[in-house]
């Protein structure tokens, strides 16, 4: 007589060892990708027109490395202006006063609505034509400081101003989205503890908004790094302009484009790492436990061979904290 389904057979008291599902499609796709990659590398290595030895020759040329330094300076200065002004514009945009929020809206409308190369040219040639001297003082009243615009706004200043002011428009939208993403209960809790609006924004809302703000800001910084190449229209001396200067003289156009590309790739890679650690920093408390960094993974792989790496408790959070059955 057949037994009932429940008493059919006790499941074995050992871990399941099942035959995994095979994925032949994945193997085919992987082989295709590998084939394409190998053929590209092969053609690049064997094609003499690439002139790799010349690329190597110019990679650390003093003019190129000088250009790299200028590119970094331009990126940092312009992005700094963009972030600071962007936060200001975002806070203005959220102001209850319509003139203040309207002013912020108008700024964003203008700087997002015109091409950055037009703005750049404008700052380089337009400003000193419109305002030969810049007067600072009381509007419609006495002026105290007189600046010769041509002398004050050098190529470098014009580029930083143009890129920074343009960036601020984009950053303000990013910051605003971050601020809005923070739960209103946070503001209420801070207010109920006696914090002023400014204290609440600085200590409670902005640090939490950073989680939303950082990833697109990293994106913007990478974009900024490459946009600095537009400085070539303003007699810039950054990486792309320098590489063009050299190739204009020796006609090794391809080689110098490769040199510039390699440097841009190297610089953006550095930014990737920076963004990764910034994101991690601002993710504090957002999940129960942060995943290990690549560096932590390597260290554990080396030093904790044979142990459960997570139980070593290298991360801030004790793992079994809320488990009452753990000693």
């Amino acid at each position: 007589m057949a037994t009932g389904p429940l008493s059919a057979r006790q499941p074995a008291a050992e871990d399941i060892k099942a035959v995994p599902v095979r994925h032949p499609g994945r193997w085919v796709a992987a082989a295709l990708v590998a084939l394409i990659a190998v053929s590209i590398v092969h053609s690049m290595a064997t094609n003499k027109n690439f002139g790799w030895s010349d690329v190597g020759h110019y990679l650390f040329d003093a003019r190129i490395t000088g250009g790299v330094v200028t590119t970094i300076e331009l990126t940092l200065a312009a992005q700094a202006i963009g972030v600071v002004l962007g936060v200001l514009l975002a806070v203005m945009r959220l102001s209850p006063n319509p003139l203040v929020s309207g002013g912020s809206w108008l700024y964003v409308w203008f700087f997002r609505g015109t091409p950055v190369i037009v703005q750049l040219t404008f700052w380089y040639v337009g400003i000193s034509a419109l305002y030969p001297t810049i007067n600072l003082g009381i509007p419609f009243g006495p002026q105290f400081i007189h600046i010769n615009a041509n002398a004050a706004i050098s190529g470098f200043t014009a580029i930083v101003l143009a890129l920074g002011l343009n960036e601020a428009a984009y950053m303000s939208e990013i910051v605003r989205a971050g601020i809005i993403s923070v739960d209103e209960g946070q503001t209420e809790a801070a207010h109920s503890l006696g914090m002023t609006r400014l204290q609440t924004m600085r200590r409670i809302v902005l640090p939490q908004a950073m989680r939303v703000i950082i990833p697109p800001t990293g994106n913007e910084t990478i974009s900024m790094l490459k946009t600095t190449s537009l400085a070539i229209v303003a007699a810039g001396t950054e990486l792309f302009a320098e590489s063009q200067n050299i190739s204009n003289a020796n006609f090794e156009i391809i080689q110098l484009l490769i040199v510039a590309s390699l440097w841009y790739l190297a610089l953006t890679s550095v930014l990737y790492v920076g963004q990764y650690y910034l994101e991690r920093y601002y993710a504090r408390g957002s999940s129960r436990e942060l995943p290990p960094t690549p560096w932590q993974k390597i260290r554990r792989g080396v030093f904790s061979f044979g142990h459960d790496p997570v139980a070593l408790g290298e991360l801030g959070a004790p793992r079994h904290e809320s488990n009452p059955f753990m000693p």
Partner: protein, 254 residues
């Protein structure tokens, strides 16, 4: 005659055309515990939030410890208080929210020391000592370095209570402090509140915990439709409600 800690006279609040509070008058004496009960949408949370000016009232008067909430009277006219002055008054009133509203980017200890450091300018060592004592008092001395996401709801709410107490408030407001908790975690939070009441803290508690109200409250208020339907000694109101509306509500929740 000592002044009551909270005094409301004909308080009205409108959201657009919706009248949420339609003339609330009550008094909470010093050291008293008042529980406010009522169906959702009855305006009880709005009234609680009005006490520390998270909601602006449209009509009537509201005093905490003798001073008007959110305004100052000069002659006939009411003048709105500046942000810094509103903040100063709020610092004296602790508030505990249904959804805890802990600062997720700060540890339990950092949550508690934040406001004393920032608002009162307490030294770091002093703030940490106070906060450690408070977290110990709510039974969380082993959770100082935990982030809110690593704590259970009941633990988070107890951190929130410690955070409010760190400002040494003269009045504590509780907005359904146990409504978002698993049933088995409610008891720990109520224990902390019971201790607080025993120590003489003035408390206004919006709650659905009738047992707590019966045991701890000095006064029970039943609100519905933006008005106080019935108020009095909690044991009497709960045992023999005088109004049909109260009777109906209690029959559903008890």
């Amino acid at each position: 005659m000592t002044e009551p800690m909270v005094k409301a006279e004909g308080v009205h609040k409108r959201f657009g055309r919706l009248e949420v509070l339609r003339g609330i008058s009550l008094e909470v004496g010093r050291g008293e515990v008042m529980c406010i009960i009522g169906p959702s949408g009855s305006g009880k949370s709005t009234f609680l939030r009005a006490i520390n000016h998270l909601e602006k009232i449209n009509r009537g008067r509201l005093w905490v410890d003798g001073s008007l909430v959110g305004y100052v009277q000069r002659g006939e006219k009411l003048h709105e208080l500046r942000d810094a002055e509103v903040a100063k008054r709020r610092a004296e009133i602790g508030m505990v929210f249904q959804r805890f509203n802990l600062f997720p980017h700060k540890t339990a200890l950092e949550n508690v020391i934040e406001a004393p450091r920032l608002v009162r300018g307490v030294s770091k060592s002093q703030a940490v000592a106070d906060a450690t004592a408070l977290l110990d008092r709510v039974g969380l001395s082993d959770k100082l370095a935990s982030y809110p996401s690593q704590l259970s709801g009941g633990q988070q709410q107890r951190v929130a209570i410690a955070r409010a107490l760190a400002m040494k408030p003269k009045l504590m407001l509780f907005d359904e402090p146990t409504s978002a908790l698993d049933p088995e975690l409610v008891g720990d939070v109520l224990d902390v509140m019971r201790d607080l009441a025993r120590d003489g803290m003035t408390m206004v508690v919006v709650t659905h915990e009738m047992g707590f109200a019966r045991e701890v409250a000095d006064k029970l208020v039943f609100m519905d439709g933006g008005v106080i339907v019935e108020a009095g000694d909690p044991r009497e109101v709960l045992a023999s409600p005088q109004h049909e509306r109260t009777r109906l509500f209690l029959s559903k929740v008890l």
